[in-house]
Symmetry: C2
Subunit: 439 residues, 2 copies
């Protein structure tokens, strides 16, 4: 971002004109997010940012990690600092199967491919499956980083509606049938069934069964993205879709929310044939994921009580979720609605009729509160009446203050609306690129 901001636009234009004709078609869809500028401002200390999705890692036992990594270099430095295989470290892959067991998955380490965060897993899955124009089914709204990948591979995203129980089976069935009537077949369903980003809802057990049945009947591949699955606030973790349909689901996992995003260690669990293609794709993409990061995670899992650490994270995020929901209940004007997450990082808010979250955003920033406008989470420009609030990073008192400021901004917007009539923003083209603080 600092890079993008500090050289003269005219200079960029000159260079740009010289090169643009040579770019690949896919590059034309790569455009900087309209809300980047807002993010630059949102990161100012006086602004309460309810926009970012970065985990709060202040609770990590840095002394433990420090000595583990020190020992790693001394004892296994020539392995940790050397190339690894493209598939990833066998011990780590074994440990990853232990982690997945917590969401009901029984897997063979041989079917795991380690990736540079689960973002890269999604990039590689899309790389091996999607030709330009191919259809990918996504929830409405969907993860902005996934929409960025699908745009980069020139996929056509078809959104399928959700409600408070997550993806709606009837709408999925209809979307598949409508496409079939056009002679089109989606490459896969991309879904975040548990603690959805940005919607903050989870797929109910009955819904999971129904979704699996529909995908089975239509022989549709499922890409299950599960970065928040272990960060639930109530009872046991939800059972992953992959747990009941090993041959039809590519499961994407990550240590970014449960340990450290800075190591960039995620993974894909896939049927053998797909796993083989993912390994080959990883080889041409990076040769291999960072050995050091892999062994760092591996030694952390082996030598630290990571499950208690996750329990502590759950407590911290639950307290923040509670702070946000009670602040919303206390402070938001009527006719503003929002979801009630049972885990994860996000609340999805719907503004009163006639309000526009992107138009409101600069005014919110001026009032020192930031959020992500809903349009970022749609490939088709919808979502202007919605916005994403995250409670993962700021402490509870800041969350309440942020909600207070946001409520005031919405009140002002309502006055404007009632005086001048509803705001109608034109529908935006293209996809917001994820941006460093949008994950």
């Amino acid at each position: 971002m600092e890079g993008r901001s500090d050289h003269p636009p005219v200079h960029r234009e000159t260079r740009f004109d010289a090169d643009v004709a040579r770019y690949a078609a896919r590059a034309k869809g790569m455009v900087a997010s309209e809300i980047r500028a807002l993010f630059a401002v949102a990161n100012r200390p006086e602004v309460v940012s309810l926009a970012g999705g970065s985990p709060n890692i202040s609770g990590l036992p840095l002394d433990v990690v420090s000595s583990l990594l020190s020992d790693l270099v001394l004892q296994r430095g020539t392995v940790a600092l050397q190339y690894s295989t493209a598939q990833g470290d066998p011990t780590l892959r074994e440990q990853i199967t232990d982690v997945m067991r917590l969401v009901g998955i029984e897997a063979n380490p041989d079917d795991v491919v380690v990736t540079v965060g689960s973002q890269q897993a999604l990039d590689l899955v899309t790389r091996i499956f999607c030709d330009p124009g191919d259809v990918v089914l996504c929830e409405a709204p969907s993860y902005v980083g996934a929409l960025g990948v699908f745009a980069a591979y020139q996929c056509q995203v078809v959104h399928v509606a959700m409600d408070d129980e997550g993806l709606v089976p009837e709408h999925l069935e209809n979307a598949i049938r409508t496409l079939a009537a056009q002679g089109r077949r989606p490459k896969f369903l991309y879904t975040i069934p548990t603690y959805h980003n940005p919607a903050g809802v989870s797929l109910s057990p009955q819904r999971r069964e129904a979704i699996l049945e529909i995908c089975h009947r239509h022989d549709l591949l499922i890409v299950e993205d599960d970065p928040y699955g272990l960060l639930g606030f109530e009872g046991e973790p939800s059972r992953a879709l992959r747990a009941d349909e090993p041959a039809r689901v590519v499961y994407l996992g990550s240590f970014s929310k449960t340990f450290s995003p800075g190591l960039r260690v995620g993974w894909a669990l896939a049927p053998h044939a797909i796993r083989d293609k993912l390994v080959l794709a990883q080889e041409s993409a990076t040769l291999c994921p960072p050995a050091f990061s892999q062994l760092a995670v591996s030694t952390y899992l082996a030598n630290h009580d990571w499950q208690s650490q996750i329990k502590a994270l759950r407590e911290m995020y639950r307290e923040r979720r509670d702070a946000m929901l009670s602040a919303l209940d206390d402070l938001m004007p009527p006719s503003t609605t929002w979801t009630k997450p049972k885990g994860g990082f996000f609340v999805w808010m719907t503004l009163p009729e006639g309000l526009d979250s992107k138009a409101m955003s600069p005014r919110a920033i001026r009032e020192r509160v930031a959020y992500v406008p809903g349009t970022a989470f749609y490939a088709d420009g919808f979502g202007s009446q919605c916005l994403r609030l995250s409670y993962c990073f700021p402490p509870p008192d800041r969350i309440r203050e942020g909600v207070r400021r946001l409520a005031a901004v919405i009140e002002q917007e309502l006055e404007l609306r009632d005086t001048f009539g509803p705001f109608h923003s034109g529908r935006r083209k293209g996809v917001e690129s994820p941006g460093p603080d949008l994950r």
Copy 2:
């Protein structure tokens, strides 16, 4: 690799058939290297591997690295373990410009994009420039990992001949003209001008001028890959092409050969407009490169005498280069020829007429010596009379022993040839995927 080897092929086939119809066109070009199996064997201790391109990192000051990383976590853990920006850490990008100054490059840190090894830089450059069917000019032979990337993006690779002074300007000119006559224009020239992998030659200063002049005249973009530029055995480092043509060259650098491949830190230096696209491509590919790896390299550069470390590496590799060249002089049968590298890791050997490096490979393995057959370095199946020998990893005495074994194998092949006539292998289709030990 271990993954690929230990499940029954029949099982894989079953799954494969179920999914193959759905893969993207680009995935059909992703096939496992024919020589992977050989590599599995080549890694046995009794085999002298002259095949691998992994740097010898045994000389790294592990105690220093250990305490630097320990301090990094204690003092800056919440930054090093958190997401970074897609472009990469500003301090590291500043330090990268210091590194590039050693090859004559004056650059603005704002034009540097940090990548997951320079392999990913090449992947991202190809991603933003190349549509399926686009032509990329490469040296003949060229880096196998680059050919893997170009295959993954469905590029057409046109090889341009080299000699002992590197890429031959007349052949480059002819290739461009021939394509122009077909109404085709290459997207860029991919070149490793210094200590070429696999050819072991370097572009002479006069040649550099000539190549730049030709690319300027034809307005051709250059992608300069320079992983070995600081690992020369004689005099000062060669001046990078980028040093004299900032607006026309995308320069790819890496810390894999000068510090650690396991951290996967490389970079691209590009004109602003291209830099912008690379940052957006990085966001959808990985969100951001590993912060920990970036700060690890940054603290190493800031707190250790890295230039002396590189000097020590040069001495070690020079001794091994000398060991290989003298062994080749002493032991190889006449009519076998090879290049005399002035830096880097590799010697390129041409076998006597009628011998085939791939057909010979299993017999070489049986005699406990491994190399990479030349066909791996061509997109078009050429190179069967050539092979790559690397001296980077085994100690000098093992290198000599490996060459002794290889010479014996070649002698046997010559006997077979003189008895049964020349061996003619069919030309192989497709590209060898780089594989974990082929870089």
